[in-house]
């Protein structure tokens, strides 16, 4: 340890590459160990955890995505609500949710404890898929198909809030998902 000491505005002279004091060394070691824990948690959760934003990711032409989504709606449509088609796809189906200024189409009826593949994309600008009230948030970007395996674990009525600014009507962009037994 050095025999002189100075503040941060003094130019240190001589060799200052010297060992730190014991308390400082201990803190650096503890911090480093904690950083390794922080790092390990993410790959570990991929192996053991149930919530990972991995998905199947692909580029998609917005017109193609729209065509796929419209086929999906046509096939499984059961009714209309407030001008939105309501679909009830079979368990395990690929779901297509269109984001555009300023609506989420269609309304979906899903089954609890069944895995679906949810495709998200936008036809115009960036949008944000925010499943309310359970707080699942995914970025929706035009030109990209983000397909996530999702398994609803609660019965009830959910909302899809848009949480990426998408223009003046951003706040009315509210969609609906229903989960049944």
């Amino acid at each position: 340890m050095s025999s002189e000491m100075h503040s941060g505005i003094v130019s240190p002279e001589g060799n200052w590459w010297v060992p730190a004091g014991p308390q400082e060394r201990r803190w650096v070691k503890l911090s480093f160990a904690w950083c390794m824990v922080l790092f390990a948690m993410m790959p570990l959760w991929h192996l053991k955890g149930g919530q990972n934003p991995s998905g199947i990711r692909a580029r998609v032409n917005p017109a193609d995505f729209q065509a796929r989504a419209e086929r999906f709606i046509e096939e499984y449509k059961v009714s209309d609500e407030k001008g939105f088609p309501v679909v009830k796809p079979p368990p395990g189906a690929d779901l297509y949710l269109i984001a555009r200024m300023w609506q989420w189409t269609p309304v979906m009826i899903l089954k609890k404890d069944v895995e679906y593949t949810l495709h998200l994309s936008s036809l115009d600008v960036n949008h944000g898929f925010s499943l309310f009230p359970i707080n699942v948030n995914i970025q929706v970007i035009p030109g990209y198909d983000y397909a996530l395996k999702v398994t609803p674990n609660k019965v009830g009525e959910f909302r899809v809030i848009c949480n990426e600014f998408c223009g003046i009507g951003h706040h009315i962009m509210i969609g609906k998902v229903v989960v049944e037994e």
């Binding site: 050095s2 025999s3 002189e4 000491m5 100075h6 503040s7 941060g8 505005i9 003094v10 130019s11 240190p12 730190a20 004091g21 308390q23 400082e24 803190w27 650096v28 503890l30 911090s31 904690w34 950083c35 922080l38 790092f39 993410m42 959760w45 955890g49 919530q51 990972n52 934003p53 991995s54 998905g55 990711r57 407030k82 001008g83 939105f84 115009d124 600008v125 944000g128 925010s130 009230p133 359970i134 707080n135 699942v136 948030n137 970025q139 990209y144 395996k149 999702v150 398994t151 674990n153 909302r159 809030i161 949480n163 600014f165 223009g167 003046i168 951003h170 706040h171 509210i174 969609g175």
Partner: protein
């Protein structure tokens, strides 16, 4: 020939009666103009902030939808870009030429850069005010602003880039002309870190705003995901400029207010280098739930290659308070574990501002940031109010407050004025710090209930399906609103003090020190010893810093608990993969 050079150089320098440093007149003037413009931008941002707080607080809901997003754009740009970077330019001129006793080479370039930055900032503000750039701070394409908007940002960035090269030139000439002995001081080293990160950041800025400008002229196409990737190479890396500048200011103020020492140069400097090495990876935090990148990319980058940049902040989180403790112990405050803290100069806003900044940044900003920046936990946080809840306690409660604290020292030392409304100045860091903390807590918890950020109306009036949040959100909104109003009050206090001091303040001179005039921080009235040797150092090494060990341990426990609570919360979600 040589003598005329020396004479002309001598005319360009003045000697500081307090610190004994030789100050280049051009550097001093550039510090002044950059700091003044920074405060003007801060005022614009603060006024906008008040409008935003009074709109998101649904009980008030003041602004129209159009004005809300316009104010939000204005607030983000003026606070996060213009205020911060103008102030950082002042910090660079101070930590380079001034602290090194050196001249500022090519001062004309400094003035040219300043001009470019002002023109850029004015252009951007005019575009936003006139409603031609309602695209928010991030301007994600395909949302489009008028071309002049992107050009304004480019001019501003080019100006800032010139200043970063001037700083490097000043360091080079200081070394060559031998204006200091040994190594550059730690504070300058930290500023050099900020400077290098600024260059990396501004290059990202050029890489994205030049294509965006061309795209706005319909000359090229622009991929929205690629934009987000490179934009955040600017947007988040620039926050690391702030961190490095803020930590440097902590070291500076620690020294000037209580004679805080550097425990170990090797450790503190290595920590700064870690910032530089892992900074461009910070972009990934913003893309954790984006479709463009895979899990391996996200995990590696969001962790800054195994959290080594976080390690850097954890190190400073110990060495700064420990340096303060050791400095205070050398000054004789050796009783118990916390006499050094109890008997610290709490009525000096330079000191209190620094401490509050350290606490807010570390305890609130750091812990929340690392947690919500975890790949999977980000699913619960992305684009909710937890995000602004986090960065208002890093960049505002941390960086902006540190900038305010150092301003109380710059006013006498650089502007040669006494601080006006000294009684109010003593309270200002507390008001601002408490306000911003309350506001951020309100935001963070609202985000936990799924309340989105950047949203005019969470009652979703006119939406096809009704939206009703948990009743607790109403209470949290009031907490957020009150905190926000207190923070804006603290910000306006700072602006009034700074403007009145600089333009109408009483002059500061050596006489102000001998008469102990009001409006002069105690660290300037009696600058603590900046270097020690002999028995005091031996005793300091022997006693260590027991108080800081306890404080950092409490911090560590909070961190671990908060982190794992969030993993637990994640398990309640749907399965996603």
């Amino acid at each position: 020939m040589t003598s005329t050079v020396i004479t002309s150089m001598a005319q360009r320098m003045r000697s500081c009666p307090i610190t004994g440093l030789k100050v280049d007149i051009n550097a001093e003037r550039l510090i002044k103009v950059n700091a003044v413009v920074a405060v003007v931008c801060f005022l614009l941002g603060a006024v906008a902030a008040l409008g935003l707080v009074l709109t998101r607080w649904q009980a008030v809901h003041y602004l129209s939808v159009q004005m809300y997003y316009r104010f939000l754009t204005l607030h983000g740009l003026n606070m996060l870009i213009f205020f911060i970077i103008f102030f950082e330019m002042a910090v660079l001129y101070f930590a380079g030429p001034v602290l090194l006793n050196a001249r500022l080479p090519a001062p004309k370039w400094g003035w040219f850069a300043f001009l470019l930055m002002v023109v850029g900032a004015v252009l951007v503000n005019v575009m936003v005010f006139s409603g031609q750039a309602d695209v928010l701070f991030t301007s994600y394409p395909p949302l489009r602003a008028a071309s002049w908007y992107y050009l304004g940002i480019i001019l501003f960035a080019v100006g800032a880039l010139i200043v970063t090269f001037l700083f490097l030139a000043a360091l080079h000439y200081a070394k060559k002309e031998g204006t200091y002995k040994g190594s550059i001081p730690l504070v300058t080293f930290g500023a050099l870190t900020a400077n290098i990160i600024a260059i990396i950041t501004l290059v990202h800025g050029a890489l994205i705003y030049i294509p965006a400008y061309l795209w706005s002229l319909d000359l090229i196409s622009l991929d929205p995901q690629v934009y987000r990737l490179i934009f955040w190479g600017l947007g988040h890396s620039s926050q690391q400029i702030n961190v490095a500048a803020m930590v440097s200011i902590w070291y500076l103020l620690a020294g000037m207010t209580v004679g805080g020492v550097v425990l170990n140069e090797k450790i503190s400097r290595t920590a700064f280098v870690l910032y530089i090495l892992f900074i461009s990876m910070a972009s990934a935090h913003h893309l954790l739930v984006d479709p463009g990148m895979g899990p391996a990319w996200k995990v590696w980058n969001t962790s800054y290659a195994m959290y080594l940049a976080v390690l850097a902040s954890l190190i400073h989180g110990f060495t700064v308070p420990a340096g303060i403790e050791m400095g205070q112990r050398i000054r004789g405050f050796t009783q118990g574990k916390f006499e050094w803290l109890r008997k610290a100069p709490w009525s000096d806003p330079g000191f209190s501002g620094m401490i509050i900044s350290i606490i807010i940044f570390g305890f609130m900003g750091g812990i929340t940031g690392v947690t919500i920046g975890t790949e999977q936990i980000n699913i619960m946080a992305h684009n909710t109010l937890r995000i602004p809840g986090h960065f208002h306690v890093t960049v505002v409660g941390g960086t902006a407050l540190a900038f305010m604290a150092v301003t109380y020292y710059l006013i006498p030392l650089i502007f040669k004025k006494r601080v006006a409304f000294w009684g109010m100045a003593r309270w200002q860091p507390w008001v601002f710090g408490v306000g911003i903390s309350i506001m951020a807590i309100g935001m963070s918890f609202m985000g936990g209930f799924g309340v989105p950020r950047r949203h005019w109306d969470i009652t979703a009036t006119g939406a096809p399906f009704p939206l009703e949040f948990h009743p607790a959100v109403d209470l949290l909104q009031a907490v957020f609103g009150l905190g926000g109003i207190i923070a804006v009050a603290g910000a306006l206090m700072f602006i009034v003090i700074a403007v009145v001091s600089v333009f109408f303040g009483k002059p500061f001179s050596e006489e102000s020190v001998t008469t102990k005039a009001s409006g002069v921080p105690q660290g300037i009235l009696a600058l603590p010893a900046q270097a020690h040797s002999g028995g005091a150092v031996t005793r300091a090494h022997r006693d260590g810093t027991p108080g800081t060990v306890i404080l950092t341990f409490i911090f560590f426990v909070c961190f671990v608990v908060y982190y794992f609570i969030n993993w637990k919360l994640l398990t309640f979600l749907w399965r996603i993969g």
